[in-house]
Symmetry: C2
Subunit: 399 residues, 2 copies
């Protein structure tokens, strides 16, 4: 049987563009090449599309104005119920063959590939794709709709106030916007749509609140304000049904205690420097990004807390008919033992392989990605309608 051809997509106009490059390149290394023929497709910050083996070399990022010969600019084209990549020719005689593929493997973080738009593109082109469908991606990448859903399902979440950036106004008085925040300090301010702790602030005064909201409005048109959880500990778990019934990975307590992991800490191993240590030399293995000391199935969790986390993760995933293996983050006040759902990451950094490698039973990273790809084909088949019956509802008469 011929191997299925899988395009691994990464990049896009996202605040998590660079980390998506790492997740994409990592996936290409890990996917089982005996089962799948894999190739990279990179969408840069300006939304140019690229393919070619040169994309596999980290030294080539960010792409230079003059690309190496093994990186080709492409367009994505659809019509005839299919989509394909068309190499961009220099002239009319240089037309190159279209590149077809059997499924899209999504290694995006944030816009527009984790949030539903790329999913819509693949649905429009009739191409199977990995991970959550549009609805789940849309709901999970919006912190407010996720909370609304949790409330319906009886999963505890923190109260919130949503603040809207004024439309059609270049200048505005932030005090007008924050005056109705009726929650007691300390508070936590976040962008409503972005992940990865970008522009997340703890604020203890009205002045800090105002400046945190301005910071969010540079990135997102909506901010969300919540109580800051005292004695905070985070617990993360991944959930999937690629192995049959919904099942959970190990629960992880990420490294940093009592503080918000900011983006720099999460992804810039070197700290204040501009680049990831080793990125330039081509050695920035993404495993380095998850090397912050973590603890799996931490002993401080009571059996009851553990069961709550696992059951809530599954309930939420099932309610949205989830796909892939999202990572669900919970917040805990370690003094009171209270738990709240924090957020859902439809495509977690490096597919949260470390959670699955520590699961019971252990799931190997390659096996995880194989199952995620196989689910893409199953999903595409599942919703295929009985197109023969489309003709039953026609108004126009056949000629």
């Amino acid at each position: 049987m011929a191997r299925k051809k899988i395009a691994v997509f990464f990049g896009e106009q996202s605040f998590e563009h660079d980390i998506s490059i790492l997740t994409g390149l990592q996936a290409i290394k890990v996917i089982d090449q005996s089962k799948f023929e894999v190739f990279p497709v990179y969408i840069d910050l300006n939304r140019n599309w690229w393919t070619g083996n040169g994309l596999l070399n980290q030294d080539n990022y960010p792409l230079a104005v003059k690309q190496p010969k093994d990186i080709t600019k492409v367009k994505f084209c659809l019509g005839d119920g299919v989509g394909y990549l068309q190499p961009v020719s220099g002239g009319i005689f240089a037309a190159k063959k279209p590149i077809y593929f059997d499924a899209a493997f999504l290694a995006f973080h944030g816009d527009f590939g984790e949030t539903g738009a790329f999913q819509g593109l693949m649905e429009s082109a009739g191409i199977p794709y990995t991970g959550c469908r549009m609805l789940a991606a849309n709901v999970f990448m919006n912190k407010v709709t996720t909370k609304q859903l949790c409330r319906t399902l009886g999963i505890p979440v923190l109260p919130e106030v949503v603040l809207n950036r004024p439309e059609n106004k270049a200048f505005f008085d932030v005090k007008d916007i924050t005056k109705d925040v009726n929650l007691p300090f300390p508070l936590c301010v976040k962008p409503l749509h972005l992940g990865s702790s970008i522009a997340v602030s703890k604020v203890t005064t009205k002045e800090e609140l105002d400046s945190a909201v301005i910071k969010v409005f540079a990135l997102d048109n909506q901010a969300i304000v919540e109580p800051f959880v005292e004695n905070l500990e985070e617990y993360n778990v991944s959930v999937t049904r690629i192995f049959g019934e919904p099942s959970c990975s190990a629960i992880e307590r990420p490294a940093k205690k009592n503080a918000i992991l900011d983006f720099a800490d999460k992804y810039k191993a070197g700290g204040k420097g501009k680049g990831v240590k080793g990125a330039k030399s081509g050695n920035a293995d993404i495993r380095g990004l998850v090397s912050l000391s973590r603890e799996y199935n931490p002993k401080e969790l009571t059996k009851e807390q553990r069961e709550k986390i696992l059951s809530w993760a599954k309930t939420l995933f099932v309610a949205m008919d989830g796909n892939g293996a999202p990572r669900i983050d919970f917040l805990c006040n370690t003094k009171t033992g209270e738990l709240w759902l924090g957020e859902v990451n439809p495509i977690p950094g490096s597919f949260a392989f470390y959670l699955w490698e520590n699961a019971e039973p252990k799931v190997n990273f390659t096996k995880l990605l194989t199952a995620i790809i196989e689910e893409a084909f199953a999903e595409a088949g599942k919703k295929s309608l009985a197109y023969g019956t489309l003709k039953d509802n026609r108004i126009f008469e056949d000629k």
Copy 2:
């Protein structure tokens, strides 16, 4: 100032394909040509894409194998942060100029243009588009997520049982699937995702339930079973914020009492015949489709009922950050006076212009479409992120 170029999209692989053609052609006639340069783009049932003036002639549907010269096959291409239509050339010397446009006007019903996928395609291409964003389209086109949202918001909905078509099974025993339906007869069975009363049945026995579920599973992978509302009357209202604050149209009581409007009744004016009366002769003005006797702001509604309908419609619309002018359908038991939210139509047939023409103040159809188009541009601008700051979160160093 040059007129903005607006592509009006219609058709697609949808159970409401043909009615979408009528809505699309009607919109092209009605859009203000002094403000906008309009042209048609038709996606046929096999997902071939077409443009050209020949599409404006109803006599050309369904398209013949050999198209008239004024209908051109196109591909949609994206990359470079833009999307455009590329006429499909017969040979490499026949390459034709790409067709760019400023915004997409969506006149789809059902898959894939009312349900979020086409919206994702436009987001991926960076093209402004009319109507609901992906999230709202996805949530509203799923009857269960709409209900969950209503419950969160305190808007009454009927209880439901969701039935799943078995995966990977060509044959299955429907009795196994319906055995857990624990609602008393009579019941109403519907597809979970489709609109326009397609495959909607009233059932009074277990046998009827089973056969109605089989009927749904030919079209949709999920069925929804609800109590059948006795003494049923439907009330429809449209809601929008294209004129500023959220506002509602007239409330309409559609023609048929105490019965489910089935697809044939709604759209096939002639009744049992295959075609719309006049479709073949090119005279099937969609106004004919709304000519069933209707009543606006019906007097039997109490002030309280009226206020509930208007307030619930606005609440639901605002909660999902709705766009365009969706039509929201309510169910009423006229004996008890109880009201429930029925469903939301992000892109209602013929844009529910008749509800706006009867609104207070009256809104002219052309003015409605102008405001819907202007909102598309405003929305595209609103969420545009501060791309300069994208560079702040980079891992890879500039060379």
